[in-house]
Amino acid sequence: MMKLFRFAIALGLYAGVAVAQPPGPGPQGPATGKAAAPHDITGYWVAVVTEDWRYRMITAKAGDYPGINLTPAAQLVANAWDPAKDIAAGNVCKAYGAGGLLRLPTRLHITWASDNVLSIETDAGKQKRLFKFGAAQDGAGAGTLQGVSKARWDLQRERAFGPVVNGTLEVVTTQMAPGYVRKNGVPYGEGAKLTEYYETVKEDNGEQFLIVIANLEDAANLAQPVLTSTNFKREPDGKKWDPSECTAK
Amino acid sequence: MQSLSVSSFCKRGVLLALGILLASGSHAQQQDFSKVKIEALKVRDNIYMLVGSGGNITLQIGADGVLIVDTQYAELSDRILAKIRELSKGPIRYIIDTHHHADHTGGNAKLRAAGMTVSGGNVGGDIADAGAGAQIIAHENALLHMTAPPAAGQPAIPSAALPTLTYFTPKKDLWFNGEGIRIMYEPNAHTDGDSIVYFRQSDVISSGDVYVTNQYPFIDIANGGSIQGIIAAANNIIDLIIPVYGQDGGTLVIPGHGRLSDIGDVINYREMLTIIRDRIADMIRKGMTLEQVKAAKPTQDYDPRWGASSGFWTTTQFVEAVYKNLSTAQGK
């Protein structure tokens, strides 16, 4: 009886593993990030700035960051922000790091750089983030503004052994160079961890939105994580793509 | 700045209103009723709102029979009757006309004939008109308008369609189907013969055309209507209402046209009218002519929701009516 029971457990576990794996070429091994993608996230997307407008479309004054709880040390840094000093120190792109980049008014161009690397470029500041799946995760990018981003698909099925009906792109980014979560000098440090979820939704009028839910944690600077959700609308092409240099203010 | 004498203003106003009256009479004749379906929306256990074409109908049903507020167009009476019969087999005892316009009284004759006056037993034979149909209740002014000489080319309203019981006091009460029903006069509102009907236990108000949700209210100046009266009527309705916590319920209002409402909707309506009135009144105080007022677009923020550029009652006509009302009131 115990043998039978153990066999059944093993059978059940195997079935569970089969369910949890992304679809893909079975005999060849785990699917690539590109093959496993439950929907097409590539293309051009434009930020739709309906929230935090005066912190994103213009740059607020130093010390103006309500809703973000900073540690006492970080408050001193934020309140003393001086864009001229950033420029002088060669840090004009400090607000364009992974911790704050997608909150800037920007367009995104998302492509597969390879089967396991998703590239997100922004025209604002001409930045590029690389989301690496599985075997492609090599630690490259440590200490840069964009850090190291590890990606996976969180696939959803309607029932235990059913087909994939949707999925979320989950990205965890660490080892970023210090940056600004808001352009007016609100800091995060090298110990920060950014967890993002990329969701797409389609409206009845055919418009498609990309919603980026971002949770930024940094014990040294943030007394509470900064949790934001940023909307992008799909554009048919790159006609409005307009690369611009970083600005410190 | 050009100014107009009161008499020439009045002449223009009367002509305008007569035109509207003609339009309202002929409006029904030109309409195609073949596809109109009568729908019933349950408002309370014994109160229904019937929608079709023309004004909304309020139906109260119960052991005593059926009470109807307004009767829409004559062409729809059979369908209206059929819908009533789905909901109640009881006799139609009362019809209340909120005012005299044809889209609210056109079915009077047929629906009255389908009903019977409260009487019976040995006494029934002694009353000459017992069983002659339902009672039709309205304000006295509504009857006066319905018996006035018709416009050229229009037929007179048949006597069978006329109110049989009128009142001229601020209110008239009756008891029917287990509740008190208060009929209240709203002077010089949509017309000078408007009634609203308050079903006290059911907690429902039938407002007639003093409150609508589909367009700017029609101010029938030729028949005594005024913007101040409509606003006063809206305020009276608000005073009557006791809302549920959160205002999504409590006393409900069946408008003359449009959707079932509560205090929130009536408040928004009152707010819109008051603001427009205040703006036009301010412009009149500054000496602006009607054309200047129209050019200033005092209703611009409400037009997408309430206005119309064509049809029976347009935004322009509404602004003109408010201007003329207020100009007269201000003695210009």
């Binding site: 009886m1 039978l4 059944a8 457990i9 059940g12 576990l13 079935a15 569970g16 369910v19 949890a20 434009v46 930020a47 739709v48 309906t50 929230e51 479309m57 309500p66 809703g67 973000i68 008014p105 367009r107 025209d123 696939l155 959803q156 099925r157 309607e158 235990a160 009906v165 999925g167 969701e199 939704v201 409206e203 009845d204 009028n205 939105f209 919603i211 949770n215 949790l227 934001t228 909307n231 | 929306l41 606003i231 006063a232 608000i238 916590y245 959160g246 205002q247 999504d248 319920g249 959707r259 079932l260 509560d262 929130g264 009152r270 008051t274 205040d278 923020d301 037009d303 997408p304 929701r305």
Partner: protein, 287 residues
């Protein structure tokens, strides 16, 4: 004996599957108390939006005039004091509680219910495929909502809304609007996205998100509101500003160094290219 073996096999199979596959479906349970987080739009949501701040709202000229005419004194009138925030605005602040209503026999999901702290509003999201009522039915502040799952995204369609607001500084949302919402849960984070489609007052759909964190021990408090007469006013008095007379609407632009035109909103103000427009416009002097 055979039936016993069968039962053991089935039980073990189910247990084994649950160990590894449940994570892929568990996100659909939204029930619980969710605490609002305010990393975004804090000034808008707590102290309240400033007069004259319509930046980032895709409002048209009609709505702009409504907003510029609006007076905060309106809220002091007794019949306005206990007006609730409509369902598409309610997520701007405070905590919520979500719970399911299931058929006791089939366990089929009938509805989701949402209680919001502000004015204790409670709304129902029908999940059983029912039709929306006819247009002439009553409109409410919560509207009539039906929902369906698309993977782990709950999409809700709401009609029959009473007139409401996009911001509580006078930017109105009409009663002809329909609203689409998306509830998305990731672990202990819930994102509530609202898309307002208003053919009366919007140039484009208006999208906005709010985020919540799951709480194991918070309760949603009750909220008492009682209308009182705060000031004696003439009957029927409605406070408002005649067009062009409210100078206070300029304070926002002057305080924050934003061009007046940008502060007046419109669809163009939502997009990155508007930054170039902002830089070309005169900046008002601080008041």
């Amino acid at each position: 004996m055979n039936s016993l073996i069968r039962s053991v096999l089935l039980l073990a199979l189910a247990a084994g599957s649950c160990l590894l596959s449940s994570a892929a479906m568990s996100e659909k349970n939204l029930a619980g108390v969710w605490v609002g987080t305010y990393s975004e739009d804090w000034p808008d949501r707590f102290p309240g939006p400033e007069l004259g701040d319509y930046a980032g709202l895709p409002i048209n000229d009609a709505d702009r005039l409504r907003a510029l005419s609006w007076s905060a004194s309106l809220i002091a009138l007794p019949e306005y004091q206990c007006r609730v925030h409509p369902s598409d605005y309610a997520n701007s602040f405070a905590d919520i509680r979500l719970w399911e209503e299931r058929d006791p026999i089939t366990e089929k999901l009938i509805a989701l219910h949402l209680q919001h702290f502000a004015w204790q509003t409670r709304r129902t999201i029908w999940m059983d495929g029912r039709e929306h009522p006819p247009e002439y039915a009553q409109h409410t502040s919560m509207g009539f909502s039906t929902g369906q799952w698309d993977g782990q995204v709950l999409t809700i369609h709401t009609t029959h809304l009473k007139e409401g607001w996009l911001r509580r500084n006078g930017a109105a949302r009409s009663d002809k609007a329909t609203v689409t919402e998306h509830f998305i849960r990731h672990g202990d984070i819930l994102t509530w996205t609202v898309v307002v489609n208003d053919p009366i007052y919007l140039e484009e759909p208006f999208i906005r998100n709010r985020d919540y964190r799951y709480s194991v021990d918070n309760q949603v408090a009750n909220y008492a509101c009682d209308s009182v007469v705060e000031m004696v006013r003439a009957p029927g008095y409605i406070p408002h500003h005649l067009p062009g007379t409210n100078e206070d609407v300029k304070i926002f632009a002057e305080t924050h160094g934003i061009p007046y035109k940008a502060a007046m909103g419109g669809a163009a103000t939502m997009y990155p290219e508007y930054i170039k427009v902002i830089r070309s416009l005169p900046v008002p002097s601080p008041r």
